[in-house]
Subunit: 193 residues, 2 copies
Amino acid sequence: MQAFLKYINDHALKPISKEDFEVLQGHFVYKKLRKKQYLLENGEVCRYFAFILKGAMRKYYVDEKGTEHIVNLFIENWWAGDTESFTMLSPSIYNIDAWEDSEVLLITHENATKLTKLFPAFKEMLLKMDEKHKIATQKRITSSISFTAEKRYANFLDCHSDFLQRFPQHIIASYLGITKETLSRIRNQFPQK
Amino acid sequence: MQAFLKYINDHALKPISKEDFEVLQGHFVYKKLRKKQYLLENGEVCRYFAFILKGAMRKYYVDEKGTEHIVNLFIENWWAGDTESFTMLSPSIYNIDAWEDSEVLLITHENATKLTKLFPAFKEMLLKMDEKHKIATQKRITSSISFTAEKRYANFLDCHSDFLQRFPQHIIASYLGITKETLSRIRNQFPQK
DNA sequence: CGGTCTCTTGACGGAGTTCAAAGCTAGTGG
DNA sequence: CCACTAGCTTTGAACTCCGTCAAGAGACCG
């Protein structure tokens, strides 16, 4: 829980006080998730965004053939959810589940809005998080339309080497938009990183 | 210019008054761009975000081989810029230029921040714009990692048929991450849309 | 142990790229 | 009004990267 306080203060101009943090905390629901447990299932409305205190999660969608496509990977200090469903209240096409046993803080849209009004630090944190998210997705689009599989993987190693120890290769492959076999071959061409 | 007022009010909860809009307008610089003229060049810092009143623009980056990769396409009522460079003041890797003769409203980061504080309607507009942007990029990532070229094009027709009349095929192809030849062949398989 | 999950390797096939050539269109200047 | 050019689209042929399918080999866990 201290991790969350630190996270907010790292992203805010003025730190939030201990007392304010107590109030803020009250707007979240703490939840434990076992491996494979869903945070969001295809067809549901995403009613909570989750701040990950501990663990690892994945967001994916399943196509007509039943193949899973990893859209995002999350670990500690990341936010997991489906923005579209969360803000439009539309049923989500994504699934989010725990890849490791995890602990998360859940917040509703309503409470999030309320907190941005109560605590400037919280609002600033959200804004910064948004910026980071925007930049990251822009990079990912750029790389996915213009790089080869090999470069995308090299790029992934630069940006997200922390995922490597947490997720198996076939998950990473799917995240990169390639098959596990292709990733395996790419890795065996490199001497080693 | 009325278009911009309308745009803000369409995206805000409470409309902005005529008088306020005058003040707001004063924080923008009006600029005309001739076809092929740059709004942002590779290596520069993106000091302005541009609201497009009229015209069409493209954002792209050039790889080591000198090939252009279209990252975004913009027409009237869109915002063009490089978020990463704009907020971090880092040199941009992208180019943005006018595809048609265009008219834009430029705003600095400083002025944008100021306006969000002065006018709630402006802030709400930015937030909504962000949401839309986030949802769109998420969809684009999903489609680029999991769809075939043909499906990506079908998807593009659904979402952005308005671009079809404004940009030539080789630009659209690059936007989709495929070659102009492939796009040409895909189009000739369909009866017609 | 025996199952489930994971990674690797090989052979084949297909989607998409590359390169080259030709046709098509619209704009420009004589 | 025609000739010329530049930009755009199409088509074909060869090639390449990557996906698919199939099989085997570790690794981990109950």
